[in-house]
């Protein structure tokens, strides 16, 4: 430590308001994006393993001579599982892990908004997971010769984006709830994982559930999101679709707004509660 501090550049200006919000979003998204490249094993686990499950469904569909579009449904579902895994393991339970490492205290103590941190985690996770989902989609399409009939790429992209907003909004809401649940967070994630796979219709059209159950399953953004996307990219999609695309889009918009607002309310409430009970940053209490 021979050098002195005299020549240290001063901090003359710091951003506030929306500029600080954006800086925080970008900074918190950064570890997710960079981590993707530095941990290639994650790509294996989150592409190869879902792809194996997808292959299983494809072989079953071909063995029972199901319509060929079902193979495409399964491949799309296989690609989308990466988002659900990301939302549950790296979004919903993230604040709990941040608390355990001590990051949460620093996030709260900084002048930024915790919503910006959550949004950064969501955007970083979405970017990283999109790459994995794309790999599964490309592999599946090439391997099983999937035939797409895309009616509108713009609509498809818009529905995908909307689904992601609603899904990651759900993740943000869960993140604040899991902070409240504490150490049971990972058990809740485990508990939710398989039922959501099933209810979201990852590998089959959700219409098969019947109206009541499909409506209940529609509370999960991936259910209607995937159903709408299938309607937009497969010839038999509209026939096998649960609701019409405009209705599904309307529900997704509602879900997205509801989850984002709920996450903001929950996070404010939990921060207040945790500050008063002393549980915010202390894992021992």
């Amino acid at each position: 430590m021979a050098t002195t501090l005299a020549s240290l550049p001063p901090v003359t200006h710091t951003d506030q308001g929306w500029r600080l919000f954006l800086r925080t979003v970008v900074a918190r998204a950064y570890p997710r994006v960079v981590g993707q490249m530095r941990e290639p094993m994650w790509i294996f686990f989150e592409t190869f393993l879902p792809f194996l499950a997808t292959c299983g469904y494809v072989f079953v569909y071909r063995a029972i001579r199901a319509p060929e579009d079902f193979v495409g449904f399964a491949v799309m579902g296989g690609a989308m599982t990466a988002f659900w895994l990301n939302v549950m393991w790296l979004m919903a339970s993230q604040l709990y892990w941040e608390k355990e490492t001590g990051n949460l205290a620093l996030y709260i103590m900084a002048p930024n908004s915790l919503m910006a941190i959550l949004l950064g985690m969501a955007i970083g996770g979405l970017f990283a997971t999109s790459l994995r989902a794309a790999v599964v989609m490309i592999l599946g399409t090439w391997f099983f010769h999937i035939h797409f009939v895309v009616s509108s790429f713009a609509q498809l992209f818009a529905v995908f984006l909307l689904t992601m907003v609603a899904l990651y909004g759900l993740g943000m809401m869960f993140a604040s709830l899991f902070l409240l649940f504490g150490r049971e967070a990972w058990q809740i994630v485990m508990m939710l994982q398989e039922p959501v796979y099933f209810l979201s219709g990852f590998y089959f059209p959700v219409k098969s559930f019947g109206f009541v159950m499909a409506m209940a399953a529609s509370l999960l953004p991936l259910t209607l999101g995937m159903d709408a996307m299938r309607q937009l990219v497969f010839a038999s999609g509209p026939t096998l679709g649960f609701l019409s695309v405009p209705v599904e889009v309307a529900v997704l918009v509602t879900l997205a707004i509801a989850f984002l607002v709920a996450s903001k309310l929950w996070i404010d409430r939990i921060l207040q509660l945790a500050r008063h009970e002393g549980t915010l940053t202390d894992r021992r209490r």
Partner: protein
């Protein structure tokens, strides 16, 4: 609160509800009680006390992480409970043994990320990171993944994180905890240099290392069981014991009942016994030199052999013993 004060607490208290207690019989832990402190801007202030004394609770309240149960606290002129958004841009905190940041990111990337959370622009952030890393001797590790750093190097990175934003008030919670002698010395030197270069910045340091507080702090508050027992400059606190004399004795292991014999001896104010491997250590605070003969007589009558006897100047540890009636280690055991 006046402009010249960096920190002020008024009758500050914090009580935790204990989980698992029966509803009809709720249990509470008083972590802080009636704390009144005033720390002027530019002061290096120490909070000295054993583990569990309430130091970290006090810091958590001051950095807006925890709400006080009673009283008020102000940092940089703002109420921590009512105006946390005004306090946060002006402060930062470094804790000992913290593992903040992400192991996958390099040292520079982690520091950049935390700088962004304070709204710092990129050129200033990166320049300050490079300069601060150079000062703490970590420049050659700037592109090392954080997960590959040793505990000492990681704590140096944490120190840089805390000072990166040039806070008006910085809270250092046991910053040298778990570090080896060399790394601790480096960290202390950095903090001292920072204070010397920026006389208008305020540091609040918590530690249970007496020597660290004595070396760094302008004033220290001695805290135990959630209460501030004394608050003054280290030299002034030690003057409390100027009329007493302090002896350190190494003796053969003590038999049961030997310590009770000291209770009846005239001129013996405090005795702290620390068993060691194959011997015992005694710290004696006596009213005058001539009280020592009584102690030696008592030891001899209990077959204890004196291996080493040393008269020494009072330290903050002695002040703590004088105030609390037991050593810091004993206070930790009693509190735990």
């Amino acid at each position: 609160m006046t402009e010249s004060q960096a920190i002020k607490t008024e009758n500050l208290g914090r009580t935790y509800k204990i989980r698992g207690a029966k509803k009809g019989n709720p249990k509470e832990l008083v972590a802080l009680s009636g704390v009144n402190l005033e720390v002027p801007r530019g002061e290096f202030f120490g909070l000295l006390g054993p583990n569990g004394a309430g130091k970290t609770t006090l810091i958590k309240i001051l950095v807006t992480l925890l709400a006080p149960t009673t009283g008020r606290a102000f940092v940089a002129g703002h109420d921590v409970a009512r105006q946390p958004d005004a306090v946060r841009p002006r402060i930062n905190m470094v804790s000992g043994g913290e593992s903040s940041g992400y192991g996958l990111l390099t040292v520079r990337e982690n520091l950049w990320m935390f700088g962004q959370f304070y709204g710092m622009d990129n050129p200033t952030t990166l320049q300050r990171i490079d300069r601060l890393l150079e000062v703490v001797g970590l420049k050659d590790r700037v592109n090392t993944k954080t997960s590959d750093l040793s505990t000492g190097l990681r704590q140096k990175m944490n120190i840089v994180r805390g000072f990166l934003t040039d806070p008006e008030v910085i809270f250092l919670d046991e910053p040298t905890l778990g570090l080896d002698v060399s790394a601790s010395r480096d960290v202390r030197r950095f903090i001292r240099d920072w204070v010397a270069e920026r006389p208008n910045r305020t540091v609040l340091l918590t530690t249970h290392y007496m020597a660290e507080a004595e070396e760094l702090c302008d004033r220290v508050a001695i805290i135990n069981a959630g209460k501030v027992l004394a608050c003054d400059a280290p030299a002034t606190l030690k003057k409390r014991l100027q009329r007493e004399v302090i002896f350190h004795l190494d003796i053969s292991p003590l038999r049961n009942g030997t310590l009770n014999a000291f209770d009846r001896l005239p001129g013996v104010r405090k005795v702290v016994h620390t068993p060691q491997d194959g011997k015992s250590e005694l710290e004696l605070i006596l009213e005058a030199d001539d009280a020592l003969s009584g102690v030696i007589g008592a030891l001899t009558s209990h077959d204890a052999h004196i291996l080493n006897l040393q008269k020494r100047e009072p330290t903050l540890e002695d002040v703590f013993v004088d105030l609390v009636g037991m050593s810091m280690t004993e206070a930790e055991k009693a509190g735990g």
